[in-house]
């Protein structure tokens, strides 16, 4: 038991070192594009993992998580524009370009949004839940599309990445390490959460709501908190994406983005801790490789996705576990 734990810790340390070393390796190999790709993988991984908490653990099939992803991006974008224009948002909120302010602001805004959307949506279930979450995301999509003060359909350019402790955030490697630090913190919390008694209750509600009710657990309250946490996590990822791309647009809120996040979750493995990160990496790299290879890449991506959904139950993590299980 001790030995397997030690092995796990060792593997985690090696994995973390490898992740830290990505910019150095990329620089040595002369492909700096890898750094941007790795940064995006971390960010989408956070978003997919957050969705997975609601979807995989809680069984809440949200088709509207793009709403929180996009909201996170717009918090950063709008605060930056307010800062650059030296005006006050709603007449009393000053703008900012400090990451230490924009991230808590994102948590606040997406938390409130998730509480409102979740409180209403969780009154339904099944197909209706899928559709009502989609509806709320679409409302936000059209709202931001019509908000011409902040770019409307064209999106909002953020001239400079948010600042943090005087670091040179224009440097891609620095930005990657900052993202990695945030992702690592996120991962620790997310992993603790899935293993906590709260996470177990949320899982239990998915498996058998009546038994949980018999244990005196109020489903609605637990699900709502799970949904809020999931929305906040996705929002943080959206805020980081806006910082990395220095751009945010209604596209982030479009239903395709919700679909993309769901694909990452199912590709990696629904209800697994590391699966969504794996799924994000595979999907983004696959898109990139196929895109370079043929302009008809969506066709191939569609076929791959179809085969994965129809044939490979449990996603990539099922394969990983199979290999691991065989070895031990």
């Amino acid at each position: 038991m001790d030995r397997s734990n030690a092995l796990k810790t060792l593997a985690a340390v090696i994995g973390l070192l490898a992740l830290v070393a990505v910019p150095i390796i990329a620089d040595a190999a002369g492909s700096t594009a890898w750094i941007s790709m790795a940064t995006r993988i971390l960010i989408y991984g956070m978003a997919a993992a957050s969705l997975n908490f609601a979807l995989g653990y809680g069984g809440l099939v949200s088709f509207g998580h793009a709403a929180f992803f996009g909201l996170g991006g717009y918090v950063v974008g709008i605060l930056y524009q307010t800062y650059a224009d030296e005006t006050l948002l709603f007449g009393f909120i000053p703008g900012t370009n400090q990451l230490l302010v924009t991230l808590p602001a994102t948590i606040l805004v997406t938390g409130i949004a998730a509480a409102a959307i979740g409180a209403l949506s969780l009154r339904t279930g099944g197909v209706q839940f899928i559709m009502i979450t989609l509806a709320f995301a679409q409302m936000l999509f059209f709202f931001f599309s019509g908000l011409s003060a902040y770019g409307g359909e064209d999106g909002l350019i953020i001239r400079r990445t948010n600042e943090l402790f005087g670091l040179n955030m224009r440097d891609r490697a620095t930005l990657y390490w900052v993202t990695l630090a945030i992702t690592a913190l996120f991962f620790v919390i997310y992993r603790r959460l899935t293993m906590s008694s709260f996470g177990t209750i949320v899982s239990g509600l998915r498996q058998n709501e009546r038994r949980m009710a018999a244990l005196g657990i109020e489903a609605y309250r637990y699900r709502l908190i799970a949904f809020i946490l999931s929305g906040i996590g996705t929002g943080i990822a959206g805020a980081m994406l806006a910082n990395v791309m220095r751009f945010t647009s209604p596209d982030l809120l479009a239903w395709h983005t919700s679909g993309q996040l769901m694909i990452m979750v199912i590709l990696g493995g629904v209800g697994t801790v590391t699966g969504p990160f794996l799924g994000a990496a595979v999907l983004l790299i696959l898109e990139d490789v196929l895109n370079a290879w043929t302009e008809n890449w969506p066709l191939i991506l569609g076929l791959v996705l179809l085969v994965v959904v129809l044939q490979a139950r449990g996603g990539l993590m099922a394969i990983v576990n199979l290999v691991r299980g065989n070895r031990s």
């Binding site: 979807l55 099939v61 088709f63 209403l120 009154r123 339904t124 279930g125 099944g126 197909v127 209706q128 899928i130 559709m131 009502i132 989609l134 509806a135 709320f136 679409q138 409302m139 059209f142 709202f143 931001f144 599309s145 019509g146 908000l147 011409s148 003060a149 409307g152 239903w255 679909g259 769901m262 694909i263 199912i266 629904v270 008809n296 969506p298 066709l299 991506l301 569609g302 076929l303 996705l305 179809l306 959904v309 129809l310």
Partner: protein, 304 residues
């Protein structure tokens, strides 16, 4: 006043088109419990195949059967190859598999027809506006769509309530196992229903050609609205799809037509237009949220 009347007619026309799509979707939803995101692709297939055939032959009316046939065949094909495997899966897998189908169909259409949208002329004899009321000129083609939609609604009503197939459809929705136990080939029944839903989607797609552009992605635009119709009307209810389709069609059209003008009274022109368009597009989703919160099963829940 005439302007309002005209917009309401436009709304009804849009509404019956939504109904044509929603009828198939709600049948598939209600009976097979499958969320079919690819329904919009069938609409696109009908539009492209029909329009292509009409351009080759030079006749709008010859394009119609071609579009219907292509959509129905495509529907049967994807039911047999993909959708059949999804009946026992959960909603998440259905959403993703049919999402994959959208990617595939969109790219196939780009490969065959290119990215340029097609613009289709109104059929011969229906190009001149006719006078409905003194001072109100209205294109007869739109009236034709309304007539077609109402015709399909009446036909479906008789099909479902008066015929043997309709009886099987209703029975299949209530208790699949019992129908199977009575010796009905449920698998074939499902394929037929799916193909029929695809046919209606193809009809809507082809008729939409002269009004909207025939282009890649046309299916997704209308698909989400169609889902809103299905959910508001009550999953599995044809009657609900009809009522909700008309309500949404009129609501959406009127909001888009009048909201920017109303907003312009209180704010600057371009801002009012952009915001008005945004809020108008939100309208149907807002209505769906409200309806679901008051009646979680929709306006006309299918009897189970």
């Amino acid at each position: 006043m005439l302007l309002i009347f005209e917009q309401i007619l436009n709304g009804v026309q849009y509404g019956v088109m939504l109904f044509l799509l929603a009828a198939g979707l709600t049948l598939i939803f209600g009976i097979m419990q499958v969320i079919n995101l690819a329904h919009g692709s069938l609409y696109m297939v009908g539009a492209y195949a029909g329009t292509w055939f009409a351009q080759e032959t030079g006749s709008f009316w010859l394009g119609l059967p071609a579009g219907l046939l292509a959509a129905a065949l495509t529907g049967v094909l994807i039911e047999v190859i993909v959708v059949r495997r999804l009946y026992d899966r959960d909603h998440l897998e259905q959403v993703l598999a049919t999402f994959a189908l959208i990617l595939i169909f969109n790219q196939l259409v780009i490969m065959i027809f290119g990215r340029q949208p097609f613009f289709v002329a109104m059929p011969e004899g229906l190009q001149e506006s006719i006078q409905l009321l003194p001072g109100l000129q209205y294109p007869p083609y739109r009236l034709l769509i309304i007539a077609a939609g109402l015709g399909v609604a009446v036909g479906l009503y008789f099909l479902i309530t008066k015929t043997r197939i309709g009886m099987l459809v209703r029975a299949g929705a209530t208790d699949r196992e019992m129908v199977r136990a009575l010796g009905v080939n449920v698998r074939l029944l499902y394929t037929v229903i799916f193909g029929f839903g695809a046919l209606l989607a193809g009809l809507a797609g082809y008729l939409a050609g002269p009004i909207f552009a025939v282009q890649v992605g046309m299916g997704e635009q209308i698909l989400l609205t169609t889902f809103v119709v299905v959910v508001i009307g009550g999953v599995g209810s044809i009657r609900g799809a009809f009522v909700a389709g008309l309500i949404l069609g009129v609501l959406d059209t009127c909001l888009r037509a009048f909201l920017p003008g109303i907003l312009r009274l209180v704010m600057a022109g371009p801002d009012a237009d952009a915001l008005g368009a945004g809020i108008a597009a939100m309208g149907i989703y807002l209505l769906m949220a409200i309806v679901l919160l008051i009646r979680p099963q929709g306006l006309f829940p299918a009897a189970h």
